[in-house]
């Protein structure tokens, strides 16, 4: 750098580091740990209230005990979601991010600690319900194998184009609350079109967590993912 005014000058020091490098390293460490234990990890994300907890409750009811599952659920505060999920019999760890500064997402070090409370040898599937938010969780790898975004028909059709990073990052989308369609002006074809526009080819499952409609297709997709991971372990 050029010297500036009088006796002062500046020196430029190259850094070239990802700002979130610490999180990324921790996420890789989590990923190795889960892989060693043969646990399939899924990160479930959505805006607040899209139906993550309800969908997971219904999913757990249908896959357990054939698939041994545990849940880590992140909320800014309260244990309401953990209480609802625990009814399924799955071990549930609630993480309140207000202890971590009210964070808008789960970070890899938070998952590392939460996973200590789970017997990873006793499970095949770890479900992580992220904090309700379509922006920040997309920036923080937590060591998961697959990412799923839940979008409900009570939100705008254009969420996918407003939050393209989230929809590109995820491996599947669940379009929830379709039981409400008769009462709404929701243009479902447009919503599906927007998802395909930002992430061509992404599987989209239309579901009602309330009535159970459409859950089978989503659960089959999940089962297949778990099967592939477990097969890799037994090799």
């Amino acid at each position: 750098m050029k010297p500036v005014e009088g006796n002062k000058s500046t020196r430029e020091v190259k850094v070239v580091t990802r700002v979130l490098a610490v999180n990324e390293r921790m996420a890789e460490q989590n990923r190795r740990r889960f892989a060693e234990k043969g646990v399939f990890v899924i990160n479930v994300m959505s805006s607040p209230g899209s139906g993550k907890t309800t969908t997971l409750q219904k999913t757990l009811e249908r896959i357990m005990p054939g698939i041994r599952a545990a849940v880590i659920v992140g909320d800014v505060s309260t244990t309401h979601d953990a209480d609802r999920l625990a009814v399924t019999g799955a071990p549930v760890v609630q993480v309140n991010t207000d202890a971590f500064g009210g964070d808008c997402h789960l970070a890899a070090h938070v998952i590392e600690k939460a996973a200590d409370a789970i017997d990873l040898d006793a499970i095949d599937l770890l479900i992580i319900e992220n904090v309700g938010n379509l922006v920040c969780p997309a920036e923080f790898d937590i060591g998961e194998d697959a990412r799923v975004v839940v979008l409900s028909v009570t939100e705008g059709e254009d969420k996918p184009v407003k939050y393209p990073t989230m929809f590109r990052l995820c491996d599947a989308a669940l379009l929830n609350k379709i039981d409400l369609l008769p009462h709404l002006d929701y243009d479902k074809a447009q919503a599906v079109g927007y998802i395909q526009q930002v992430h061509p080819g992404m599987p989209i499952f239309e579901i009602s967590a309330r009535s159970g409609e459409g859950l089978e297709a989503w659960i089959n997709w999940l089962r297949e993912k778990i099967r592939v991971k477990l097969a890799a372990r037994s090799k």
Partner: protein, 125 residues
């Protein structure tokens, strides 16, 4: 929304990057590269940074942010283009198999440190 956490990480990384012979120096500027798709609001980041950098070597430092565009490459026909609208299909062949070449960065490129040319350091390089 997580700009506070990012500001703290920037301070950690920048502080650790100050050369050992300049430990008491003041960082004047942090050069950042932030992609358009990274969920960072520049004003909010600056606001948080000003608060958490107090009493650190980065107090008063400027955050110089270079915003990088979203550039995609088609895996099928190798076309390259800048994505402006949220449409992620190839502009040449309509394929959906894209590689995002830039636009998600959140990188510290360099820091600029004030050098006082006092009698102590005046003779050094």
């Amino acid at each position: 929304m997580h700009e506070m956490g990012i500001a703290l990480q920037i301070i950690d990384i920048a502080t650790a990057s100050i050369p050992p012979d300049m430990r008491s120096a003041r960082v004047e500027r942090v050069n950042l590269k932030i992609g358009k798709l990274a969920a960072v609001v520049a004003d909010s980041l600056r606001f948080c940074f000003d608060i958490v950098s107090k009493d650190t070597p980065l107090a008063g430092a400027e955050l110089a942010i270079e915003e990088t565009p979203v550039v995609a490459r088609c895996k099928d026909c190798d076309a390259r283009w800048t994505i402006v609208e949220p449409v992620f299909t190839c502009t040449a062949c309509q394929s959906g198999a894209l590689e995002i070449l830039s636009g998600r960065e959140l990188d510290i490129v360099s820091i600029e440190i004030a050098q006082e040319e006092s009698h102590e350091t005046g003779g050094g390089q």
